[in-house]
Symmetry: C2
Subunit: 128 residues, 2 copies
DNA sequence: ATCCTGCTTGACGTTGACGCCAAGGTCAAG
DNA sequence: CTTGACCTTGGCGTCAACGTCAAGCAGGAT
């Protein structure tokens, strides 16, 4: 039941994902999105929506749009050739290492935040 | 035994943390670092090193230098006043929410990566 | 017919985070 | 006393990721 017929206009996309019209055009310019045209108008399908979601998650994680492009490419077309597949597997390894490093950074940050919060809470208790 | 006497030059800092001289000056310009002077020369103490480590971790996580500044401020000086403490606690909450969102994003990404890897591995097995 | 709304394509402007000189001070070594 | 290594302060350049006009098409409502 993954809907394949519904389409969206640029305004609906911008609205649904809380990005500007301009940003959508920018992503398209960089090849991250490739909406159809109906006459002049851009017309977005399901595929563009999942791609946009990936783009935005990438941005939240601090990836550059260029990095995001290569990530999208990874998911794009399963290559039929073994060499390509091996290459893709190595890329997956790289990405995973990157993400795991970020996760460690985040967990360290959260731990330090906890400490700080505890000290604060104690101070508040003492002072009131 | 946290050493409080050793100091470092800009070149040592740049070397130890693998950043450029220019970046260090930039961080100083924005108030993220505030090394002493010995005559003209910048002279970095332990404090600047821990700050720089926080800055770089922040950058890896995709925070802007401005956001990093507020984070550093949080850790800077424990305020003695209750109002300030409450404010700090609220900020800590904000940061934690942000970090936890990122962690979710990362874990989602890792899961999808796992799926993709599995599909790839299967394809390789089939083709060879 | 004209007006409004929503869209289009340029194209220049802006902000953040530095890179990259230029021009010169300082100090130990030769 | 000059050289070289290392440092200093400007200040212009650059790249990414859009923001912000400007000018214009297309189609339905008045």
């Amino acid at each position: 039941m993954t809907d394949t017929t519904t389409t969206w206009t640029i305004a609906q996309m911008a609205d649904d994902y809380d990005v500007t019209h301009r940003a959508l055009r920018h992503y398209e310019h960089l090849g991250l999105l490739a909406p159809d045209r109906e006459g002049q108008r851009r017309i977005y399908h399901r595929r563009e929506r999942t791609r946009l979601a990936l783009i935005l998650r990438g941005r939240r994680l601090g990836f550059s749009l260029e990095e995001i492009a290569t990530i999208l490419d990874m998911y794009d077309d399963q290559p039929g050739e073994v060499g390509q597949l091996r290459y893709l597997l190595s890329q997956i390894g790289d990405r995973r290492a990157d993400l795991e490093r970020r996760r460690r950074d985040i967990e360290d940050s959260l731990r330090e935040l906890d400490e700080l919060e505890q000290r604060c809470a104690e101070d508040v208790a003492r002072l009131s």
